[in-house]
Every structure is written in structure tokens, then in C-alpha cells.
């Protein structure tokens, strides 16, 4: 039993070990200003953790990420379902969503800066704008694929509009919306760092900027590594939640 489990997961762990080994070797054979080995990165991360600086900046970033991300869910999901339900609205709004979805949001940051300045709100807006469109897009696509028969059943049983949303629209659409949510996680992380780079410098973004300016490559790598791992963990969590909501699909 243990053997099978070991064999199944062996390629994964071998690949991770190989990646770390290559990183280590590459780091050791280049200038420390460009590249640091894995061991030095971990040591730098440990130092950052000990000073408490990292934890503080981490929670700063987490606050920004969660605020913007949650806002994108709170707006994106209901709006997506509304657009799917009200045809006129969808036809009117869809082109703007397509345009904004395709726009590189980084390009809008100078505009947001000049409009809103350096506070917390403009940074939240950046995270929100990065994250909200995949949520809207996937929710609309999901909600539009509801079988008209099911809407008809609800009408036949004299469902109110509110009950139609609660019992039909939301449970049907959630698994589809979650696909957008997983995309939004990655985009929100990009938005978070971009906002911390280009607006008021805080959080992990600031840590990376400062380390980079001091040629502290280990500090940069340590922060980036943490962000990447959090991103992976969040997307895994998103997948688990998606599968939970989709368990009724064969």
C-alpha cells in the first residue's frame, strides 16, 4: 500500500528535488547579485521571518489581496448572474466587459493613481480590476447554460424571482463561477504586487522593491517564493471548493 503511494508520488517529489538541485547549482555558479541558491533563499526567508518584518508586510499584502479579491467575488458573481438573466443588460454591458477583460490592467495604474492618489482604496481597486473580469465572464457563461426546462419547472411551481435565484440560478452557476474564481486568484496576486509596486509601496511588493534596490537577491527570491506558494495553495483550495459545488455533475 505504502509502496503504491510512494510510486505514484515519486515523480512529483523527484521533480521538486531536481528543481531545487538545479536552482542550488545555478545559484552557486553565478554571481550572488543576479542569482542566489535555494539554501541562501531559505536562510534569507528565515531571517526575514525572525525580524517580524516579513510577517507584518505579509499581513499588509493579505489585507489588500483579500479585500480586492472578495470585492471582485461580491460584485462579479451577482453581476454575472444578473447579466445572464436580463438579456438587454447583457447585450449592453458585454462589450465593455470584453474590452476591460482584454485590457492590460497595469496600463491603467497611472490613471488610477492620478484619480485616487496613494491610499488603500486605489490599491484595492487595482486588485479588484485584475480579478473581477474572469469572475464575471465565467459566471455569465455558466448561468447562461442553465437548461430552460429547469427555469420552466421553477415557474410551474410558482417560484418567486428571489427563490429562483436561491434554488436554481446560484446552485447551478456556482461550479462555473468557481472556474473564474480560480483564474481570479492568480490575477489578484498579480494585481496585488502591481499595486504595491506602482502605488504606495507596502507589503510584499515593498519588500521585493527594497530588496531589489539593495541588490539583496535572496530577499527578492524569498518573497517571490512565498507569493508563488500561496498562489498555488489558493488555487488548489479553489479547485477543492469547485469540486464540492460540482459534486452533482456526473
Amino acid at each position: 500500500m505504502l509502496n503504491t503511494a510512494l510510486r505514484r508520488h515519486a515523480p512529483f517529489w523527484i521533480s521538486i528535488a531536481a528543481g531545487i538541485a538545479i536552482w542550488e547549482i545555478a545559484g552557486r555558479s553565478t554571481s550572488q547579485a543576479f542569482m542566489v541558491p535555494f539554501s541562501v533563499t531559505i536562510k534569507a526567508l528565515w531571517q526575514l521571518l525572525l525580524t517580524g518584518e516579513f510577517i507584518r508586510q505579509f499581513f499588509d499584502s493579505a489585507e489588500l489581496f483579500l479585500t480586492g479579491f472578495m470585492l471582485s467575488l461580491a460584485v462579479g458573481m451577482p453581476l454575472g448572474m444578473l447579466l445572464a438573466r436580463v438579456r438587454v443588460l447583457r447585450i449592453g454591458v458585454e462589450p465593455y466587459i470584453m474590452i476591460l477583460y482584454a485590457t492590460p490592467m497595469v496600463a491603467l495604474i497611472p490613471f488610477i493613481l492620478s484619480m485616487m492618489g496613494f491610499g488603500f482604496a486605489p490599491k484595492v481597486l487595482v486588485v479588484f480590476l485584475f480579478a473581477v473580469f474572469p469572475v464575471i465572464y465565467n459566471t455569465v457563461e455558466g448561468a447562461r447554460s442553465i437548461k430552460p426546462e429547469l427555469i420552466e419547472v421553477a415557474q410551474s411551481f410558482r417560484s418567486s424571482e428571489w427563490a429562483l435565484w436561491r434554488d436554481v440560478m446560484v446552485p447551478y452557476t456556482l461550479p462555473y463561477a468557481m472556474t473564474g474564481v480560480r483564474q481570479a486568484i492568480g490575477r489578484a496576486l498579480v494585481g496585488m504586487i502591481a499595486a504595491e509596486f506602482f502605488l504606495s509601496s507596502t507589503g510584499l511588493g515593498q519588500l521585493i522593491m527594497t530588496a531589489s534596490q539593495n541588490f539583496d537577491t535572496a530577499g527578492v527570491f524569498a518573497s517571490v517564493l512565498v507569493i508563488a506558494l500561496i498562489g498555488v495553495a489558493l488555487m488548489r483550495a479553489g479547485l477543492v471548493i469547485e469540486q464540492h459545488f460540482a459534486r452533482w455533475r456526473q
Binding site: 426546462e149 420552466e152 419547472v153 410551474s156 411551481f157 417560484s159 446552485p171 452533482w248 455533475r249
Partner: protein
């Protein structure tokens, strides 16, 4: 006049439950049906047969208030139907179960929409699950069940609101032949226990004759009632009904009426 006699003959005295008067329906330029007139007694099953595309399902949706009609009127009791009304429940061809709800939750759905108190739902849901023979599958999801079991669930959902009108939209068309037969007799058994006014739309002549007290044949484009055939078979209808000599005669009668229509329809297409 004829219809009243029929109702009296079938022993369904009193006012009819459903009255359809001069009903007509268009889809844009296409006239689906016109001048539809019929009644359904309080304890009567009326089967509607007709070739594909004759508008039987559309007619049923008009009676349920899911679709608006253009001319005429539909009365259920004293209520003029313009939208789905209380006391009328529909069983759908493709079951119409919510795939994310269990059997229990699906059966509870109609009751919840009707605003039934929690205690009543808790009492009725198991009762109707048992009635349709789904006991033990309360927590199953639709995808875990066969088509026949799914339609039992659809039937339980409709029955649970204790409607006085049941509208059946080819309910057994999507299940295999054996299951279909089983479900027909299940439906007859349940109807004997809890008789209601029922409109049963079907493609199957046999099914129409077996279940219906009257069979309405829709014909033409736009369609209208071509013939109403009284099915004077002994009650209750059971498996023996299929062996009754009168059953074969009535089936033949509906068949020849329908086939004449089918031949004409073919000619229309060829022209």
C-alpha cells in the same frame, strides 16, 4: 352536450375542473392550434394524442400558464389561467429534476415554493417518496438513478403539493419500454388512491387508451380537436384492461384516426 354526457357516464358529476374555451395560440406567424374546446372533470383523465408538432405540449403549457394563449380562455375551477396557479402541478418529459438536489430536496421543492411550513414538508416528503416507491433513495442525486426512478421523483414532487389538476407532458416518453409499462400502472394505482383531474399528453396510442377516460385527437395545421373518443373501459384500469376486447377496438379506433392524419401530413410535406 356530448362532453357533459361523457362526464356523467364516467361518474364525474358536478362542475368540470378545467374548462378550455376557444383556445388559440400563435408563435409569430405560425398558428399552432385554434378553437380548442374541452372540459376535464374533477376525477377524470383526458389523454391528448396527435402527430409530432401538432402543439399538444404547447397546449399543456398554456393550461399550466407557462405560455400565454392568444384567443379563448382557460378556467381551472373559477380561476382564469394567465400564469401558473396553485393547485396545478406538472410532470415533465425530461423529469425537470434539479441535479444538485437529492430526491428528498426535489420532492420538497414544490411544497417549499407553495410556502408550506417546515413540519408539513418533513411529514409529506417521506410520505410521497414512499407512495411512488422511492423509499430508501431519499438522499440519492438524480444522476445516480435510472430514468424511471427519476420520473418517479418528478411524479412525487408534483403529487406532494396535492394538486387538484395534474398535467402530464409525455412523462414516460424518455424511459425504456418496460419501465414505461411499470410506471403506467404505478400511475393508475396512485390515481385510484388520489384521483385528480389529469391531462395526459402522449405519443403512445396504447398509453392514451389505457389511462384516458377520453382521448382527444388533435389534427391539422393549425391543429384543432379532430375527434374526442370516449374510452368506456371498466374501472379500475389494471393489467387486465390490456386484454379487454374493447381495449383493442378503441386502440384501433384512435390509431385509424391518427394515421389518417399522418398520411395527410405526409402529403402536405410532399407538396
Amino acid at each position: 352536450m356530448n362532453q357533459q354526457q361523457t362526464a356523467a357516464k364516467a361518474g364525474h358529476d358536478g362542475e368540470p375542473r378545467i374548462r378550455v374555451r376557444g383556445l388559440g395560440k400563435h408563435y409569430g406567424a405560425l398558428e399552432v392550434f385554434k378553437n380548442i374546446d374541452f372540459d376535464v372533470g374533477k376525477r377524470e383523465i383526458v389523454a391528448i394524442v396527435g402527430p409530432s408538432g401538432c402543439g399538444k405540449t404547447t397546449l399543456l403549457r398554456c393550461i399550466d400558464g407557462l405560455l400565454p394563449h392568444d384567443t379563448g380562455e382557460i378556467l381551472v375551477g373559477d380561476t382564469r389561467v394567465t400564469e401558473p396557479i396553485a393547485g396545478v402541478a406538472m410532470v415533465f418529459q425530461h423529469f425537470g429534476l434539479f441535479p444538485w438536489k437529492t430526491v428528498s430536496e426535489n420532492v420538497a421543492y414544490g411544497l417549499r415554493m407553495a410556502g408550506a411550513p417546515k413540519a408539513e414538508i418533513a411529514r409529506k416528503v417521506p410520505e410521497f417518496i414512499k407512495l411512488v416507491g422511492l423509499a430508501g433513495f431519499e438522499n440519492a442525486f438524480p444522476y445516480q438513478m435510472s430514468g424511471g426512478m427519476q420520473q418517479r421523483c418528478g411524479l412525487a414532487r408534483a403529487l406532494a403539493v396535492e394538486p387538484n389538476v395534474l398535467l402530464m407532458d409525455e412523462p414516460f416518453a424518455a424511459v425504456d419500454a418496460q419501465t414505461r409499462e411499470i410506471l403506467q400502472f404505478e400511475l393508475l394505482r396512485i390515481w385510484q388512491e388520489r384521483p385528480t383531474a389529469m391531462v395526459f399528453v402522449t405519443h403512445s396510442i396504447e398509453e392514451a387508451v389505457l389511462l384516458g377516460h377520453r382521448v382527444i385527437v388533435l389534427k391539422g395545421r393549425p391543429s384543432s380537436i379532430h375527434e374526442t373518443i370516449v374510452i368506456d373501459l371498466p374501472e379500475p384500469r389494471t393489467r387486465e384492461t390490456l386484454q379487454h376486447p374493447r381495449f383493442a377496438v378503441l386502440r384501433e379506433r384512435v390509431w385509424s384516426t391518427l394515421m389518417a392524419e399522418a398520411r395527410e401530413a405526409e402529403f402536405v410535406l410532399e407538396r
